[in-house]
Every structure is written in structure tokens, then in C-alpha cells.
Symmetry: C2
Subunit: 351 residues, 2 copies
């Protein structure tokens, strides 16, 4: 029998954080691609558009006028999926028909007054301001809700409908599905091994090095062993931190700098403004926080869809939707490709 | 407090089959959409293209020449994600780094010799031939593998790279993630309630009617109470059936006819060749089948991405990838819209 090589031989890997499996079939990158191409980014975005509801001074859908903000700007989403006061659906009459109340709040956070920048093109102090705003909104909404989901959809491919650099914050009265899974896994790992799952995981990856993309004094970026998206990464603090507000000033500065490096590498990979969805996961918040949540480790997930080029994405479709996630290159190959990319943005080099 | 109305008030619903929650925020359909539009289907597909590797008489990537088939045609995928003979990754050295062997086989099944037809435009006997081919391939591969996943990716939006009507069959040496979840849920429901989950569920939906799209002597089509995709449906036999090969000739004819109706409605919804991924789930197969799997009920899932029109899809991105699935209209609204659509294909009416 042949010797196993991950880059040649399909196998399955387990995600202990979300309790899921992925099929890794790296030999599949050899097949030609004749399917759909994504539209190229052609149009340039104007720095300021008075009709864009995310710009300073613009009028939003509800008639409010944005201030002439010059840093980050947080406001209520005009079309929120979660509202604070929805009534309860009441008890269900059958175990197969269970509905429950959902309350919450949806906010939008602009990263910068200009529409024509993205995080990797912002300065480290500007990114630091975004991190501070993330920490404050977590603190503010976390006082009232058990889960505060910060996420950024970047690029039209990821359903983002406005080019102005921004993210969203959805706080909910319930622990969302994926938060529940991570809660369960981290809790059970902690009770079995006496330390947080992701703290040990980060330590192992720092030691093994094969999947490491970046490391700094306080942070690690790696392609997880169980990554699903081609260039998915996990951003982890090196110390045990449960939630964003706990980060020290030094950790925040360092985070701004490593985020800039990671996102620059992403853009450099296919010389495009790299689309992704990203988001932060920290320990649950809210009133019930008698629990210490020592098993939680703060982290961010980056899920970028591109596979082969700026126009060829990975489709998570039939097999993935009906059976199991599947990837076409190994996490180690992805990490290696990201690792060797320059930390200077291709747009700056070309000028 | 206001009275709860599902179409006005966000709430969460539980999927007892896959043990997941979905956030239903139907009031969100009111927001305007300024994001990405999908490319319109413009080019017409030629009935026969000698260079298309799926056509009768064409030469495939491996040099083989297709027969001049005139019904369905099954062959080995030339770029398989699963191969029969991959070596074992061996034992893992740490609980957070678990990999296991994966073996299997990937096949492609053409539905029809012509490239310019789709299932809803095929005749009922032609669809019946596809169903028979599904049953045989399940039997054949099921003798060797515990899971045989039949799935169809339809449309470029669903990563389908060839317009010729076809589906895929991936059989694996492992029970994929979603199969495992359905196994667990159905098993535990059966042991608690003494009957298959989906048998009782179908009966309830037939009685409640709000989410029913189609029903026939032997089959039901409904938008499940916990649907995630805007126009997702579940296709269920009315009798307890564990796997495709068990279907009687009458049930197969009836299935062909209800599939034609459902897919015609789908195409009529936005007057387009409706993209989707669909697939069959039946009881596990393979050698270990001492187990009776009485808790399993055969079913097909249809997952179509379109939300508002032929060019505006639902993006399952940031919140959905990081927190929880979210939908923008109620399953009841979706069922109502599908129910009232004609059962004659818009392409046939226009001629
Ligand atoms: O095998 P195909 O049709 O080339 O590929 C398509 O279906 C596969 C199975 O769902 C996916 O893994 C691919 O991303 C998708 O493009
Ligand atoms: O809120 P937005 O940016 O308009 O919408 C985008 O993100 C949401 C949260 O992930 C998704 O539900 C939408 O499908 C997507 O288009």
C-alpha cells in the first residue's frame, strides 16, 4: 500500500470546535474548471458619495442624517433582522414544530469615513480604532444580550450590498446555533483536559508550524487543521482571553497590525480586493453571567470563498449541503501559499 | 403586547431532523436590494455538442468514448473527490488533530441524451428512467459503501460546470456529517415515540396544510417548518420507505410525476431555469447492515438559492456562517407562493 500523503490522498478531518467533519481531496485541484466565473471588480468606488447611506453627512432610509464622522461610526440597521420587542410565538403544540422567541438588535459599523478604502489599506491606528469600537459595542450590547455577533461581509460575492468599509453587529436574546456548538465543545474539552481547547490548539500550531500564517507577540493566524474554505483562517490571542473588551492596549495595537498583515496577504493572493465573511466569537455575555466561561477562548474566523483566482470561487453545493464539507487543497498547502506572500499591499507596490 | 404573527415577528425555529435552528425574519423582505445580481441565462445550449464530455459519442478527459446512449448514462467521474484505494492517515498524535481514512467512488449520471432539456421538460417516463437508475446505483454502490449520496447541482449559480442534465453519485466508506446528524435525530425520535420522525412529520403537514406544496397518492412535497433556503422543499413518500430501491413501480411513476410538477413550479416562480442543489437521503447501506434502520424515512431535500427574482439570490454569509441560518420570508409564505403556480411549464405556454 502507498504511504499516506495528505496532498495526494483524500481523507477526513475533524473540527473539534464545531463538531464537524470535512473531506479533504487535494488531488482534485488538478481538474479543469469550466464553470461560472465571478464578475471582475472593475468600477472604482468614489471616496465620498452623498447618496450612499453609509457616508458621512448622507441621509439614511429612515430620514436620519449621518454626522460628519471622521473615525468609526455605529448606528442602528435600518432593516434589522432582529428587533428588541417581537412577541413570543407561544408554546408549540407538537415536538416537531418548535418555535421560540427571538429578540435583539442589529447595528452597522462604518470603519472609516472614506468609501474607497478597506481594512488592509487603512493605517494601524485606524484599524486600532475599529478594534476599540468592537470592544465597546460588545460591552454595551453584551450587558443586555447573551450573544453579540460582530461580522463583516466583504465583497459583492459575500452578499455585501455597499462598498463602504463596514461591518455589522447582531445581538440576540438566544445563543445562535454555532455559538451553542462552540460552547458545548469548549466546555467538554475544558472539563476533560483542564484548559481551554483553543489555547492548547494555538500552542500546538505554534509548535508544529505547518499551518501557521502569521505570529506576533500576542496573536496567531493559522489555517485550521479542519478548515473548510480554501483559504480560511483562525485568528487567536496567545494568552487566555474570553472576550474582546478584555484585550489590553498592547494586545489591541498588535491585533491591528496582524490584521493588516493578514488582509494584505489575502489581497495579494489573487491581486484583488479579497472577499470574505469574518466574525468574532467570544464567551457568551448577558445577564446570566454568573458562569465564568473559563473554557472560552476569544477568536475570529475568516471564511473567504475564492479557490483558484480572483474569479473562480469554491462552490459549497450538492455534496457539501447534503453530506459533508469538502475542500480541494490541504490546509497545509493553503497556509504555505499565504505565508510566502508579501506583507506590502500590491496596490501600493504598483504605484 | 402585540399578537404574534410569523410573517411580521422574527422568531427562531428548530430543525429536529438536523438538530439546527433557523432565524425567521420575514419583515426583512421589505428592505431594498442593491447588492450583486446573478448573470441572466442568455446563451442557449445546443442539443448536441461533440466536445461536451457528457454527450453521447463524445470523448471524455480519460480518453474513453461515451456510447450513443438514449436514456440515462452512468460513468465514473474523471476527477473524483473519492477514490477506492486511498491509504489510511494512521493514528493521530493529539485529540485536536484527528484525521481518518476516506474511501469511495464518484459517478456521474446523465439524465437524457440531449443537452437542452432539464428534468421538468422531460416526459414522465423519461423521469421514471432516472428514478430507476437512482435506485440501481444505490443498490450497486450500497452493497460496498455505508453511504451513497445522490445529488444534483443545477445551474451555474450552484457550481454546475456543465449544462447537460446530470447528477452525481458519491459513495463513501464513512457516514458523512449530515447523514450522521439525521441518523442520530431519527434514531432518538424513534426510540422516544415509536415511529419514524419523518413519517409523523409528513402526516402532520398533510393535516395542517399550511406548508404543503403538492401531494399525490404516494408522495408529499412541502416547505419544511424549519426551511433555511427561501424556497427549500422536502419530498417525502407517504408510506414508510427506507431507501430508493424499496420503491414500488407505482411509487416510482408517481414520484416522476410529482417531481415534474415541483420542478415546473420552480421554473415558473421566476420564469427561469431554477437553480438548486438537491439530493436523496435514505438509510445507511453497506456491509454492516445487520441494523434494520427502521427509524429512517427516505426523503429528498431541494435547496434553491433564489430569493427575489431570477437574478437576486439569498446570500448565506456573515451571520449565517458565523452564528445561525436566517431566512427572509416564512416557510408558509414560500409554500403559498409555490402552491398557486401553474403546473404547466412557462416555456411550453409561451410557444
Ligand atoms: O463536481 P463538480 O460538479 O465539478 O463540482 C461541483 O460540485 C461539487 C460537489 O458538490 C463541489 O465540491 C464543487 O465545488 C462544485 O463546483
Ligand atoms: O445585511 P445585509 O448586508 O444587507 O445582508 C447580507 O448579510 C446578511 C447577514 O449575513 C445576510 O442575511 C444577507 O443575506 C446578506 O445579503
Amino acid at each position: 500500500a502507498a504511504t499516506f500523503r495528505a496532498s495526494e490522498h483524500q481523507h477526513i478531518r475533524y473540527n473539534p470546535l464545531q463538531d464537524e467533519w470535512v473531506l479533504v481531496s487535494a488531488h482534485r485541484m488538478k481538474r479543469p474548471w469550466q464553470g461560472q466565473l465571478e464578475p471582475q471588480l472593475l468600477k472604482t468606488v468614489p471616496r465620498h458619495d452623498p447618496l450612499n447611506p453609509l457616508c458621512p453627512g448622507a441621509t439614511r432610509a429612515n430620514g436620519e442624517v449621518n454626522p460628519h464622522y471622521d473615525g468609526t461610526f455605529l448606528f442602528d440597521n435600518d432593516f434589522p433582522a432582529l428587533q428588541p420587542d417581537a412577541p413570543d410565538p407561544g408554546p408549540s403544540d407538537h415536538p416537531l414544530f418548535r418555535a421560540e422567541a427571538a429578540r435583539g438588535i442589529c447595528k452597522v459599523m462604518c470603519f472609516h469615513p472614506w468609501s474607497d478604502v478597506t481594512l488592509p489599506l487603512m493605517s494601524v491606528p485606524e484599524i486600532r480604532a475599529v478594534i476599540d469600537a468592537w470592544a465597546s459595542v460588545t460591552e454595551e450590547l453584551g450587558a443586555r444580550y447573551p450573544w453579540v455577533q460582530i461580522f463583516e461581509n466583504k465583497g459583492a460575492m459575500m452578499g455585501c450590498s455597499n462598498p463602504h468599509p463596514h461591518c455589522q453587529v447582531w445581538a440576540s436574546s438566544f445563543l445562535p446555533d454555532i455559538a451553542q456548538r462552540e460552547e458545548r465543545s469548549q466546555k467538554s474539552y475544558h472539563s476533560q483536559h483542564g484548559e481551554p481547547l483553543l489555547l492548547e490548539y494555538g500552542r500546538q500550531e505554534l509548535h508544529r508550524k505547518e499551518r501557521l500564517v502569521l505570529s506576533s507577540e500576542h496573536w496567531l493566524v493559522l489555517v485550521p487543521f479542519w478548515a473548510v474554505w480554501p483559504f480560511q483562517t483562525l485568528l487567536l490571542p496567545r494568552r487566555h482571553v474570553r472576550r474582546l473588551p478584555e484585550l489590553t492596549p498592547a494586545e489591541r495595537d498588535d491585533l491591528a497590525s496582524i490584521m493588516k498583515k493578514l488582509l494584505t496577504k489575502y489581497d495579494n493572493l489573487f491581486e484583488t480586493s479579497f472577499p470574505y465573511s469574518m466574525g468574532w466569537h467570544g464567551a457568551p455575555t448577558g445577564l446570566k453571567t454568573g458562569a465564568t466561561y473559563d473554557h472560552w477562548q476569544l477568536h475570529a474566523h475568516y471564511y473567504p470563498p475564492l479557490l483558484r483566482s480572483a474569479t473562480v470561487r469554491k462552490f459549497m453545493v450538492g455534496y457539501e449541503m447534503l453530506a459533508q464539507a469538502q475542500r480541494d487543497l490541504t490546509p497545509e498547502q493553503a497556509a504555505e501559499r499565504l505565508r510566502v506572500l508579501p506583507e506590502i499591499h500590491y496596490c501600493l507596490l504598483k504605484k
